[in-house]
Amino acid sequence: MPLQALRTVAKPQNGVGAFILQCKRLDFHYCDWAGSSRGMKYAAKHRQPPHLSMQTLYLLISSRSTSSFLKHNLSAFAAANPSIEISVSPRPGKHPVIRGSYVNGREKAICVRNLEPTEVVKKAEILKSANGEKLRIERKVVKSLNESVRGVWSPFHGREYRI
C-alpha cells in the first residue's frame, strides 16, 4: 500500500492568496497653538499639477518641504488608502502625533513634533505598512512554516562515530 500523505490544513498567510492591510485606522493629532505642529499644519499654498494619478500626485506633493501635511498631503494619502479610516482632531497643548490602530487590537503611535511635511508622510507610511506586532529584533534571518526536510539531528539516529 503506498504511503498515505499527511493531510494538513492550509496555513493562512497574509499576502499569499489575499492581502489584508493590517492598519485599520490612523489618527492624526495636532495643536493649533504649539509650534511643533507646524509641519503638520501650516504651509505656503501651492498649485497641484494636473493630469496626474492620485498616487503620483500624493508623492509629488509630499516632496515639497514647505507644504504642510494635513492641509495638502492628507487628502491624497487618504484617497490612496481607502481601506484606512483616517481621523484628524486637535489635541491642545500636546505635540503632534500619529496613532495607528491595527487588526490585532494593538496601537502604535509616532510623535511627529518639529518634523517637516515630507518626514510626516514617511512616518504615516511606516505606520500604514506596519502590523500591530511589537517591535522586536529578528535573530533568525530565515523563517519558514515547513518542518525540517531531512529531520532534526539527534545522537541516537545516525552512524556511530569512533575515533
Partner: protein, 398 residues
C-alpha cells in the same frame, strides 16, 4: 587679623626672645582668639551683659511682678481708659441735625499721617449700659480684614470702558459693504464741500434720516475735480448737512449695541445685487491722501459695524477701493479645522473625518455605542457621570 599685630609687638617689646635662633613669629590659636575683639568671639553667652549688675533675686522678681516702670505704665493706661469711659458717659448720645431731628452721635474721626481719614469705634462700657448684650457669635457684626473688606476699600484703579461695538461685519456681503462705504463717503464729501471737518461724521447724533438721503446721492470721481456728490432731490444736501452735528455735545453719550445694530440694518437695507468678479465702482478710485478723511471713514465704519482694520492695512490703502477690499477680506481662520482645505477633506474623502474639538474617551465610547450604557449605569448608582463631586466640578463637559 589686625589684632595680632599689637600682640606681636607686645611680645616683642617684653624682650622674651630666645638667645639662640630667629624671633618666633608663630602665634597659637588661643592667643589669637583672646586678642581678637569681643564682637568676633563665637562663644555663646547666656548672660545678658546689661543684667550682670542686677542680682538674681531682683531679676526673678521683675520677671514675675514687673518692673517699676512697667507697673506705672499699666496703671496710667487703666486710668486713661477709665477717664475715657467717664468722658463718653458724660457726652450726649444723640445730637440734632439741621431739621432739629435727633440723630445718633457721629463717630469721632481722625486723620493718619498718610492723610487717610478713619473713624474711631465707639467704646461701650458694659457696666454703664444695661441694654448692652455682648455678642456670643459673629453673625451680623462688622468684619474687618476679610477679603471682601479689603476689596471694598481697595482702589479699583481706572475703570476701562470699551469704545468699539461688537463686530457684526461677518455676515456682510460685498454689495452691503459698498452701500455702507458709499453712505459714509457721501456724508464726508458733503461736509468737506461745506468746509467742515470730516471728523464730524463720527460725532453722536440723534435720530436722522441721513440713510435715505445718501441713497439718493450720485457719486462721481474725476482726477481733476475729485469726488463729487450730486443729489436728485432738492434740499437733500442741506438736510444731510444739518443732520450731522456741528458741535460735540458736552456729555458724550456712548453708543449702545442696539444703536450700532440699527444703523447697520439701515446701511445694508436695499443693497444692490453682487457685482461680478472684483470690479469696483468708479468712485472708489478716490485717493485717500488726506489722513483726516481716511481716519474719519474708518472710524465711522468702526462705529457702525465694529470692524477694526489693522494699522498696516490702513497705511497701505491709498484709495477707497483698497479699503473696500480690506473690509471684504475674510479673516484667516484661527483653527486648522476651519480652513477650507480640511473642510473639503471632511466632505470629499469618505474615509477621512475632521473633528473640530478634542476627541476624548467619551467620544470614542459614543461612536461605538457604549456610552449610553455607561451613563445609565452611573446614574443608577448615583455616581457623577463626568468628573467628580468636588466643588466647582464642571458638569456636562467632556
Amino acid at each position: 587679623m589686625r589684632a595680632t599685630r599689637p600682640l606681636e609687638q607686645a611680645l616683642r617689646l617684653t624682650g622674651s626672645r630666645p638667645t639662640a635662633g630667629p624671633t618666633p613669629t608663630y602665634i597659637c590659636l588661643s592667643c589669637r582668639a583672646r586678642a581678637a575683639p569681643p564682637s568676633s568671639h563665637r562663644q555663646l553667652h547666656t548672660t545678658v551683659p546689661r543684667a550682670a549688675d542686677v542680682p538674681l533675686y531682683q531679676r526673678l522678681k521683675e520677671s514675675l511682678f514687673g518692673t517699676k516702670e512697667s507697673v506705672a505704665a499699666a496703671k496710667s493706661r487703666e486710668e486713661k481708659q477709665a477717664q475715657r469711659f467717664t468722658d463718653l458717659a458724660e457726652r450726649p448720645r444723640t445730637s440734632t441735625d439741621a431739621d432739629d431731628n435727633e440723630v445718633a452721635r457721629p463717630l469721632e474721626t481722625k486723620t493718619d499721617k498718610h492723610g487717610r481719614r478713619y473713624e474711631i469705634a465707639d467704646i461701650v462700657d458694659p457696666a454703664a449700659r444695661s441694654d448692652y448684650v455682648q455678642a456670643t457669635t459673629w453673625q451680623g457684626l462688622e468684619t474687618v480684614g476679610s477679603v471682601e473688606w479689603v476689596k471694598k476699600r481697595a482702589d479699583t484703579g481706572d475703570v476701562y470702558a470699551g469704545f468699539a461695538p461688537p463686530d457684526r461685519s461677518a455676515r456682510l456681503r460685498g454689495a452691503q459693504w459698498e452701500m455702507l462705504l458709499r453712505h459714509v463717503v457721501v456724508e464726508a464729501v458733503v461736509l468737506r464741500k461745506a468746509g467742515r471737518s470730516a471728523e464730524q461724521i463720527c460725532w453722536p447724533r440723534e435720530g436722522s434720516d441721513s440713510w435715505s438721503l445718501t441713497r439718493g446721492a450720485l457719486l462721481e470721481y474725476s482726477s481733476v475735480g475729485g469726488l463729487v456728490a450730486t443729489f436728485s432731490e432738492a434740499g437733500a444736501e442741506k438736510r444731510l448737512r444739518n443732520a450731522i452735528p456741528k458741535k460735540l455735545p458736552e456729555v458724550q453719550a456712548t453708543q449702545t449695541p442696539e444703536d450700532s445694530g440699527d444703523q447697520l440694518r439701515e446701511a445694508i437695507a436695499l443693497a444692490p445685487p453682487e457685482r461680478p468678479g472684483n470690479a469696483t465702482p468708479a468712485w472708489m478710485a478716490m485717493p485717500l491722501q488726506d489722513p483726516g478723511l481716511k481716519l474719519a471713514i474708518i472710524k465711522r465704519i468702526l462705529q457702525i459695524t465694529g470692524r477694526r482694520l489693522p494699522d498696516p492695512v490702513i497705511s497701505k490703502s491709498p484709495t477707497l477701493a483698497h479699503l473696500y477690499h480690506a473690509l471684504l477680506a475674510k479673516p484667516k481662520p484661527k483653527r486648522l479645522a476651519q480652513t477650507p482645505q480640511l473642510k473639503r477633506l471632511n466632505i470629499n474623502i469618505p474615509n477621512a473625518t475632521v473633528h473640530a474639538g478634542r476627541q476624548t474617551p467619551i467620544h470614542k465610547d459614543k461612536e461605538v455605542g457604549r456610552w449610553k450604557v455607561i451613563e445609565n449605569e452611573l446614574i443608577n448608582r448615583g455616581l457623577p457621570v463626568t468628573g467628580s463631586r468636588y466643588q466647582g466640578a464642571r458638569i456636562g463637559v467632556y
